[in-house]
Protein backbone atom coordinates (compact mmCIF):
# COMPACT_ATOMS: atom_id res chain seq x y z
CA UNK A 1 0.00 0.00 0.00
CA UNK A 2 1.28 3.44 -0.88
CA UNK A 3 2.10 5.69 2.04
CA UNK A 4 0.57 8.69 0.31
CA UNK A 5 -2.83 7.77 1.66
CA UNK A 6 -1.87 9.15 5.07
CA UNK A 7 -0.75 12.39 3.51
CA UNK A 8 -3.98 12.48 1.56
CA UNK A 9 -6.23 12.09 4.58
CA UNK A 10 -4.14 14.32 6.84
CA UNK A 11 -5.36 17.41 4.97
CA UNK A 12 -8.75 18.75 6.15
CA UNK A 13 -9.79 20.01 2.70
CA UNK A 14 -9.05 16.65 1.13
CA UNK A 15 -11.01 14.91 3.88
CA UNK A 16 -13.93 17.22 3.12
CA UNK A 17 -13.65 16.46 -0.61
CA UNK A 18 -13.65 12.72 0.15
CA UNK A 19 -16.72 13.08 2.32
CA UNK A 20 -18.58 14.87 -0.45
CA UNK A 21 -17.43 12.55 -3.20
CA UNK A 22 -18.44 9.54 -1.09
CA UNK A 23 -22.01 10.83 -1.23
CA UNK A 24 -22.01 11.88 -4.85
CA UNK A 25 -19.53 11.89 -7.75
CA UNK A 26 -18.37 15.42 -8.57
CA UNK A 27 -16.68 17.31 -11.38
CA UNK A 28 -13.62 19.44 -10.56
CA UNK A 29 -15.71 22.54 -11.23
CA UNK A 30 -18.37 21.48 -8.77
CA UNK A 31 -15.69 20.86 -6.13
CA UNK A 32 -14.15 24.28 -6.72
CA UNK A 33 -17.56 25.86 -6.27
CA UNK A 34 -18.43 23.96 -3.10
CA UNK A 35 -15.14 24.78 -1.43
CA UNK A 36 -14.81 28.27 -2.86
CA UNK A 37 -11.41 27.40 -4.32
CA UNK A 38 -9.67 28.08 -7.58
CA UNK A 39 -9.69 25.34 -10.22
CA UNK A 40 -5.92 25.15 -9.76
CA UNK A 41 -6.14 24.49 -6.02
CA UNK A 42 -8.79 21.82 -6.60
CA UNK A 43 -6.65 20.17 -9.28
CA UNK A 44 -3.80 19.79 -6.79
CA UNK A 45 -6.04 18.08 -4.24
CA UNK A 46 -7.54 15.86 -6.92
CA UNK A 47 -4.09 14.82 -8.02
CA UNK A 48 -3.10 13.74 -4.49
CA UNK A 49 -6.35 11.84 -3.97
CA UNK A 50 -6.14 10.25 -7.40
CA UNK A 51 -2.46 9.27 -6.98
CA UNK A 52 -3.29 7.17 -3.96
CA UNK A 53 -6.45 5.88 -5.65
CA UNK A 54 -8.89 7.23 -3.11
CA UNK A 55 -10.90 8.67 -6.01
CA UNK A 56 -11.19 7.61 -9.62
CA UNK A 57 -12.26 9.63 -12.66
CA UNK A 58 -15.07 8.61 -14.99
CA UNK A 59 -15.80 10.35 -18.23
CA UNK A 60 -19.43 11.30 -18.69
CA UNK A 61 -20.05 13.18 -21.89
CA UNK A 62 -17.73 16.15 -21.90
CA UNK A 63 -17.29 16.15 -18.12
CA UNK A 64 -15.04 14.13 -15.84
CA UNK A 65 -16.69 12.97 -12.62
CA UNK A 66 -14.62 11.83 -9.66
CA UNK A 67 -15.93 8.87 -7.70
CA UNK A 68 -15.01 7.68 -4.24
CA UNK A 69 -12.97 4.47 -4.26
CA UNK A 70 -14.36 2.62 -1.24
CA UNK A 71 -12.06 -0.33 -1.89
CA UNK A 72 -9.00 1.80 -1.22
CA UNK A 73 -10.44 3.02 2.02
CA UNK A 74 -10.96 -0.61 3.03
CA UNK A 75 -7.27 -1.26 2.40
CA UNK A 76 -6.51 1.54 4.80
CA UNK A 77 -8.85 -0.04 7.34
CA UNK A 78 -7.14 -3.34 6.78
CA UNK A 79 -3.84 -1.69 7.59
CA UNK A 80 -5.27 -0.31 10.79
CA UNK A 81 -6.51 -3.80 11.58
CA UNK A 82 -2.89 -4.91 11.69
CA UNK A 83 -2.24 -2.18 14.21
CA UNK A 84 -5.09 -3.57 16.26
CA UNK A 85 -3.62 -7.05 15.87
CA UNK A 86 -0.34 -5.82 17.35
CA UNK A 87 -2.18 -4.62 20.43
CA UNK A 88 -4.14 -7.83 20.72
CA UNK A 89 -0.91 -9.84 20.70
CA UNK A 90 0.56 -7.63 23.42
CA UNK A 91 -2.53 -7.83 25.60
CA UNK A 92 -2.62 -11.62 25.31
CA UNK A 93 0.97 -11.62 26.50
CA UNK A 94 -0.06 -9.46 29.43
CA UNK A 95 -2.89 -11.91 30.27
CA UNK A 96 -0.32 -14.67 30.54
CA UNK A 97 2.01 -12.55 32.63
CA UNK A 98 -0.81 -11.59 35.03
CA UNK A 99 -1.78 -15.26 35.40
CA UNK A 100 1.81 -16.23 36.14
CA UNK A 101 2.17 -13.49 38.76
CA UNK A 102 -1.14 -14.42 40.41
CA UNK A 103 -0.13 -18.09 40.58
CA UNK A 104 3.25 -17.23 42.12
CA UNK A 105 1.56 -15.04 44.73
CA UNK A 106 -0.83 -17.84 45.70
CA UNK A 107 1.93 -20.40 46.19
Amino acid sequence: MKQDIFQAIADPTRRAILTLVAIQALTPNAMAEKFDMTRQAVSKHIKVLHDCELIRPEQSGREIYYHFNAKKMQEFDHWLAQFRQGWETQFNQLDQLLNTIKKTENE
Partner: protein, 163 residues
Protein backbone atom coordinates in the same frame (compact mmCIF):
# COMPACT_ATOMS: atom_id res chain seq x y z
CA UNK B 1 -9.24 -18.43 27.81
CA UNK B 2 -9.92 -14.70 27.72
CA UNK B 3 -12.88 -14.75 25.42
CA UNK B 4 -15.10 -13.02 27.95
CA UNK B 5 -12.73 -10.10 28.39
CA UNK B 6 -13.63 -6.97 26.49
CA UNK B 7 -11.34 -5.66 23.78
CA UNK B 8 -12.36 -2.51 21.92
CA UNK B 9 -10.24 -0.78 19.31
CA UNK B 10 -11.48 2.32 17.52
CA UNK B 11 -9.80 4.85 15.29
CA UNK B 12 -11.22 8.29 14.69
CA UNK B 13 -9.35 9.25 11.55
CA UNK B 14 -10.51 12.83 11.44
CA UNK B 15 -9.60 13.43 15.07
CA UNK B 16 -6.35 11.46 14.63
CA UNK B 17 -7.21 9.58 17.80
CA UNK B 18 -7.08 5.89 18.68
CA UNK B 19 -9.26 4.48 21.47
CA UNK B 20 -8.39 1.16 23.07
CA UNK B 21 -10.27 -0.55 25.90
CA UNK B 22 -9.27 -3.91 27.35
CA UNK B 23 -10.27 -5.87 30.44
CA UNK B 24 -7.86 -8.01 32.43
CA UNK B 25 -8.60 -10.82 34.81
CA UNK B 26 -6.58 -9.32 37.68
CA UNK B 27 -6.84 -6.66 40.37
CA UNK B 28 -6.26 -3.00 39.59
CA UNK B 29 -3.07 -2.85 41.65
CA UNK B 30 -1.40 -5.63 39.70
CA UNK B 31 -2.53 -4.33 36.31
CA UNK B 32 -1.30 -0.85 37.25
CA UNK B 33 2.11 -2.35 38.07
CA UNK B 34 2.19 -4.19 34.74
CA UNK B 35 1.78 -0.86 32.92
CA UNK B 36 4.09 1.23 35.09
CA UNK B 37 7.02 -0.97 36.14
CA UNK B 38 9.82 -1.52 33.66
CA UNK B 39 10.60 -5.11 34.67
CA UNK B 40 6.96 -6.08 34.01
CA UNK B 41 6.50 -3.89 30.90
CA UNK B 42 9.49 -5.57 29.27
CA UNK B 43 7.78 -8.94 29.61
CA UNK B 44 4.75 -8.04 27.50
CA UNK B 45 5.23 -4.55 26.00
CA UNK B 46 6.08 -5.60 22.45
CA UNK B 47 4.11 -7.98 20.23
CA UNK B 48 6.02 -11.23 19.69
CA UNK B 49 8.32 -11.93 17.93
CA UNK B 50 9.47 -8.46 18.91
CA UNK B 51 10.54 -7.75 22.46
CA UNK B 52 10.77 -4.62 24.61
CA UNK B 53 13.88 -3.49 26.44
CA UNK B 54 13.80 -0.58 28.89
CA UNK B 55 17.08 1.26 29.32
CA UNK B 56 15.77 3.28 32.24
CA UNK B 57 12.43 4.36 33.64
CA UNK B 58 11.61 7.08 36.18
CA UNK B 59 7.91 6.76 36.75
CA UNK B 60 7.21 10.22 38.16
CA UNK B 61 5.76 13.41 36.69
CA UNK B 62 8.44 14.84 34.38
CA UNK B 63 10.28 11.51 34.44
CA UNK B 64 10.98 9.35 31.41
CA UNK B 65 11.08 5.82 30.14
CA UNK B 66 13.66 5.22 27.43
CA UNK B 67 13.10 1.89 25.73
CA UNK B 68 13.39 -0.03 22.50
CA UNK B 69 11.30 -2.53 20.59
CA UNK B 70 13.71 -5.09 19.23
CA UNK B 71 12.94 -7.28 16.23
CA UNK B 72 14.20 -10.87 15.95
CA UNK B 73 17.08 -9.79 13.70
CA UNK B 74 18.24 -7.22 16.27
CA UNK B 75 16.79 -4.01 14.78
CA UNK B 76 16.10 -1.55 17.59
CA UNK B 77 13.31 1.04 17.47
CA UNK B 78 13.86 3.48 20.36
CA UNK B 79 11.18 5.63 21.99
CA UNK B 80 11.02 8.14 24.81
CA UNK B 81 7.94 8.30 27.03
CA UNK B 82 7.67 11.38 29.19
CA UNK B 83 5.18 11.15 32.06
CA UNK B 84 3.08 14.29 32.27
CA UNK B 85 0.53 13.32 34.94
CA UNK B 86 0.16 10.48 37.43
CA UNK B 87 -2.77 9.63 39.73
CA UNK B 88 -1.63 6.38 41.38
CA UNK B 89 -3.59 3.26 40.38
CA UNK B 90 -6.19 5.16 38.33
CA UNK B 91 -4.61 7.35 35.65
CA UNK B 92 -1.39 8.38 33.99
CA UNK B 93 -0.58 10.43 30.94
CA UNK B 94 2.53 10.49 28.83
CA UNK B 95 4.02 12.02 25.74
CA UNK B 96 5.50 9.38 23.49
CA UNK B 97 8.05 10.08 20.76
CA UNK B 98 10.31 7.94 18.62
CA UNK B 99 14.00 8.56 19.21
CA UNK B 100 17.45 7.48 18.11
CA UNK B 101 19.66 5.29 20.29
CA UNK B 102 21.10 8.44 21.93
CA UNK B 103 17.67 9.54 23.15
CA UNK B 104 17.26 12.36 20.62
CA UNK B 105 13.53 12.61 20.06
CA UNK B 106 11.81 12.85 16.67
CA UNK B 107 8.95 15.28 17.21
CA UNK B 108 6.02 15.49 16.99
CA UNK B 109 5.01 12.56 19.14
CA UNK B 110 1.68 11.38 20.48
CA UNK B 111 -0.24 11.93 23.71
CA UNK B 112 -1.29 8.84 25.67
CA UNK B 113 -3.92 8.78 28.40
CA UNK B 114 -4.38 5.60 30.48
CA UNK B 115 -7.36 5.00 32.79
CA UNK B 116 -7.72 2.06 35.17
CA UNK B 117 -10.86 0.87 36.98
CA UNK B 118 -11.82 -2.38 38.70
CA UNK B 119 -15.12 -4.19 39.06
CA UNK B 120 -15.57 -7.69 40.54
CA UNK B 121 -11.89 -8.46 40.24
CA UNK B 122 -11.75 -7.48 36.56
CA UNK B 123 -9.66 -4.42 35.71
CA UNK B 124 -10.60 -2.28 32.75
CA UNK B 125 -7.87 -0.26 31.03
CA UNK B 126 -8.91 2.52 28.70
CA UNK B 127 -6.24 4.10 26.48
CA UNK B 128 -6.62 7.20 24.32
CA UNK B 129 -3.83 7.98 21.87
CA UNK B 130 -3.82 11.34 20.15
CA UNK B 131 -1.46 11.82 17.22
CA UNK B 132 -0.59 15.21 15.89
CA UNK B 133 -0.15 13.78 12.42
CA UNK B 134 -1.22 10.76 10.45
CA UNK B 135 2.37 10.17 9.47
CA UNK B 136 2.91 9.41 13.14
CA UNK B 137 0.11 6.91 13.21
CA UNK B 138 1.68 5.30 10.19
CA UNK B 139 5.02 5.04 12.00
CA UNK B 140 3.37 3.53 15.07
CA UNK B 141 1.89 0.91 12.81
CA UNK B 142 5.19 0.42 11.00
CA UNK B 143 6.76 -0.52 14.35
CA UNK B 144 4.34 -3.41 14.68
CA UNK B 145 4.73 -4.43 11.08
CA UNK B 146 8.50 -4.92 11.23
CA UNK B 147 8.10 -7.98 13.43
CA UNK B 148 5.47 -9.62 11.23
CA UNK B 149 7.40 -8.92 8.04
CA UNK B 150 10.55 -10.52 9.42
CA UNK B 151 8.64 -13.59 10.54
CA UNK B 152 7.20 -13.97 7.05
CA UNK B 153 10.64 -13.49 5.55
CA UNK B 154 12.04 -16.23 7.80
CA UNK B 155 9.24 -18.52 6.71
CA UNK B 156 9.95 -17.78 3.06
CA UNK B 157 13.63 -18.58 3.56
CA UNK B 158 12.76 -21.79 5.34
CA UNK B 159 10.37 -22.86 2.61
CA UNK B 160 12.96 -22.01 -0.02
CA UNK B 161 15.61 -24.11 1.72
CA UNK B 162 13.22 -27.07 2.02
CA UNK B 163 12.10 -27.11 -1.60
Amino acid sequence: MNNDLLFDFNVDKAAKTVYITREFNAGQSLVWDAFTKAELLDQWGAPAPMRAKTKYMNFEVGGRRFYAMISPDGQERWSVQEFTSITPKTNFKMYNAFADKDENRELPGSEWDYNFSEQNGITKVHIVIYNESFERLEKLLEGFKIGFTITLKNLEDLLASLS
